[in-house]
């Protein structure tokens, strides 16, 4: 049986959710095809083993590997790197939800600084959509404290989430150094909002689904609205394996349903949002988009550091330190730009507490020394960590620079459980990454030092996070150097759009989730203008 819709959306996460909602509410008939299952809130338990350690949200490496060619390696290895989440809601279900906007200069790095690439539209065009996301899904924050923030048409709809009293120590330390800390904006409800409950501060935010619906995932905040129109179906366990196109026009998609049967769904407009790696993979497999598909893959560069405060030594602040609260909630963007570097970009420093997961913590404590500690030494160290001290951490986000050595192609040999060629990642890190990460880490450590801890330790340097994926279907003004036009529409298929992080010419020094959602709303408006609303049925 042939099905036909106005719009097909591939993927239900940060890119797919907003556009499905907006177009269904505009009167179009929308089918969302999501590869993963649909989980219920009841399944969002805080079980470290099942959820974090056993592939609850991401495919297992046996079923659906990626392969990875890391820097100078001559062979590839199977990896789970580059999966965010396969479920209705995608990565927004288990994200920690740090929702920073990009800076206006992130859109014009080439024209202003002569490096990287310009976006085909400015911050000012995306700004109203940033505001729409913040208002419609519920983002908690406060503006006016960060001198690096771009212009805002409206304040945040919700005040910042409640934070640990030690946040005032971070504020004081930053003031001493002439820096400007601000509340980390969160896609978490600090108050009941639009019929959803507020955060209960369970301490198991990142990596886990939210059992009360306070995390502003597309599953909680947007897809129900889309479905409530009566014009949108979210079909889970549907693996799209080919976009069918003829004569420069997408006709629809072939997908495997939950029973493994191949089906076809047709549409006037197809919107792809499977994450920058998987969308590139699908376009490559469908032979669409041209030679630049998969190029300019960008992740995010991170470094970390931590400070330890021993209760016995910190008499004056012992009561503050002993307080249990999941959120420290402070970020610093004074080093978002680093004019001393050839690419003058730094990034964001975000202060918080280590994750509460005990097994992860135990392994980390074991591996603090080499060879790793075990036995009574480890048990003692764990008790000391949990009961005799407080640890504060920071992580930094810096631009991953697009470069010829970092891209996605199809693996010539490895297949997934459907027999399809998997995405092969090639990763190369320009020298900028280590420099920017080193500088941001040093600044973060200075801020922690100024809080008078008992110990300060640098952590990882120049790590790459596989959760933040950008760049592989670059949007631009010229088809010679881009895959998508300024509307995020393929140059060589004028009814096919890509709205996950693939479109981003630069990644910026912040997680890209909010930007992806805002652009998805923007592209929805462009599609509405192009195809018209409220088609009579």
């Amino acid at each position: 049986m042939q099905e036909s819709f106005d719009v097909l959306v591939i993927g239900s996460g940060a890119g797919g959710g907003p556009i499905a909602c907006r177009l269904a509410e505009a009167g179009l008939r929308v089918l969302v095809l999501e590869k993963g299952p649909e989980y219920s809130r009841a399944e969002y338990v805080h079980d470290e083993i099942a959820i974090v350690r056993r592939d609850f949200f991401v495919p297992s490496i046996q079923d659906e590997p990626h392969t990875l060619v890391w820097e100078d390696a001559t062979t590839s290895q199977k990896t789970t790197m580059g999966w965010i989440a396969c479920c209705v809601g995608g990565g927004t279900v288990h994200m920690a939800g740090y929702f920073y906007r990009l800076h206006p200069d992130d859109f014009r790095m080439r024209s202003k600084y002569g490096v990287l690439a310009d976006w085909p539209f400015p911050y000012e065009e995306l700004e109203p959509y940033y505001t729409q996301v913040e208002e419609e899904i519920g983002v908690s924050g406060a503006s006016g404290q960060n001198p690096l923030e771009g212009p805002r048409s409206k304040p945040y709809p919700l005040p910042p989430v409640d934070v640990h009293p030690f946040s005032s120590e971070i504020d004081r330390s930053c003031a001493k150094l002439g820096l400007h800390p601000f509340p980390s904006p969160r896609a978490i409800l600090s108050r009941p909002y639009k019929g959803r409950a507020a955060c209960v501060y369970c301490d198991f935010c990142g990596s886990y689904g939210c059992e009360v619906g306070a995390k502003s995932s597309t599953q909680e905040a947007l897809l129900p609205r889309a479905v409530a129109t009566g014009r949108c179906e979210v079909r889970s366990r549907a693996m799209v394996h080919r976009i069918v196109a003829r004569g420069g026009e997408a006709q629809g998609v072939l997908y495997f349903d939950a029973e493994g049967r191949e089906r076809f769904a047709g549409a006037r407009t197809v919107v792809l949002s499977a994450n920058a790696i998987e969308s590139a993979r699908l376009l490559l497999a469908s032979e669409l988009g041209g030679a630049l598909v998969g190029k300019n893959l960008q992740f995010s560069v991170f470094s970390t550091g931590r400070a330890v405060y021993r209760y016995a030594a910190q008499k004056r602040r012992q009561s503050i330190l002993r307080t249990r609260h999941p959120f420290l909630g402070r970020s610093v963007q004074d080093f978002y730009f680093l004019p001393e570097l050839p690419v003058p970009k730094g990034g964001t420093i975000r202060f918080g507490f280590p994750h509460a997961n005990p097994i992860f913590t135990a392994m980390r404590l074991a591996e603090e020394v080499h060879p790793p500690r075990w036995g009574s030494f480890l048990k003692e160290r764990m008790r000391e960590y949990f009961h005799e001290s407080r640890t504060v951490e920071f992580e930094t986000f810096a631009d991953f620079l697009p470069n010829p050595g970092t891209y996605v192609d199809l693996d010539p040999e490895v297949r997934d459980r459907w027999g399809l060629p998997v995405a092969r990642l090639h990763v190369n890190q320009p020298a900028h990454h280590a420099e920017a990460a080193r500088i941001l880490q040093a600044r973060g450590l200075e801020i922690l030092e100024a809080t008078e801890p008992d110990e300060v330790h640098p952590g990882e340097l120049s790590g790459v996070t596989g959760h933040l994926l950008q760049g592989t279907c670059r949007a631009g003004k010229d088809p010679a150097d881009s895959v998508l036009d300024r509307c995020c529409r393929l140059w060589d298929a004028r009814n096919l759009y890509v709205v996950d992080g693939s479109f981003m010419p630069t990644a910026g020094g912040v997680p890209s989730t909010l930007t992806i959602m805002a652009n998805s709303f923007r592209v929805a408006d462009l599609i509405r203008q192009s195809v018209g609303d409220n088609r009579p049925r």
Partner: protein, 183 residues
């Protein structure tokens, strides 16, 4: 994506540990999972009792860590934090044999018959000889000690109590649905 460092370090561990990753195993998976083989079991159980000892607080013995390991290895496609995950059962068998041979060589007794301090000495030596096995056993022991009891270890929450840890709610089973893989 911000914290958790859990996932990011978790993933970064792959890349850092790329040098140690066993090349893709070509043996059929079905032969490689199932409970711990009997002749290795007593040795591995004794080893877990040393990796997480009982002192003034419970240890792997009270928490029944070996029960967790049995159950985990019986899952088809059990996945630890590394790609070649179907090699764990083989690693453990290999490691058990190594523990036994070192125990006999250095102390003239089977591993299970040694005093605790002697077992610790053997384990310390084996940690240097077979990094992969030791790491696997340590991770499995900590999972069995600190994971939710539905997975077969942390019996009576002994592990959580030992470190004074308050588990996250909701726990699996508390809402009628043990968390399960999407597979």
């Amino acid at each position: 994506m911000g914290f958790p460092l859990t996932r990011r370090s978790f993933l970064n561990f792959f890349l850092g540990a790329a040098a140690f990753v066993v090349s893709a195993c070509t043996a059929p998976v079905r032969r490689l999972f199932g409970p711990i083989p009997q002749d290795s079991r007593a040795i591995l159980e004794a080893a877990t009792w040393r990796l997480v000892p009982s002192d003034e607080h419970p240890g792997a013995r009270e928490a029944h860590v070996i029960g967790y390991i049995d159950k985990a290895l019986s899952l088809p496609f059990y996945a630890l934090a590394k790609p070649a995950c179907w090699s764990h059962r083989r690693e453990l068998e290999r490691g058990a044999k190594l523990l036994e041979s070192v125990a006999l060589r250095d102390w003239g007794s089977p591993f299970v018959a040694l005093a605790s301090s002697q077992q610790d000495a053997v384990l310390g030596y084996v940690q240097g000889q077979d990094l992969e096995f030791f790491h696997t056993l340590l991770v499995l022991s900590l999972e069995g000690f600190l994971g939710d009891p539905v997975h077969g270890g942390n019996r009576g929450q002994a592990g959580w109590q030992a470190i004074g840890y308050v588990p996250g709610q909701p726990r699996p089973g508390s809402c009628g649905h043990p968390a399960k893989s999407h597979r």
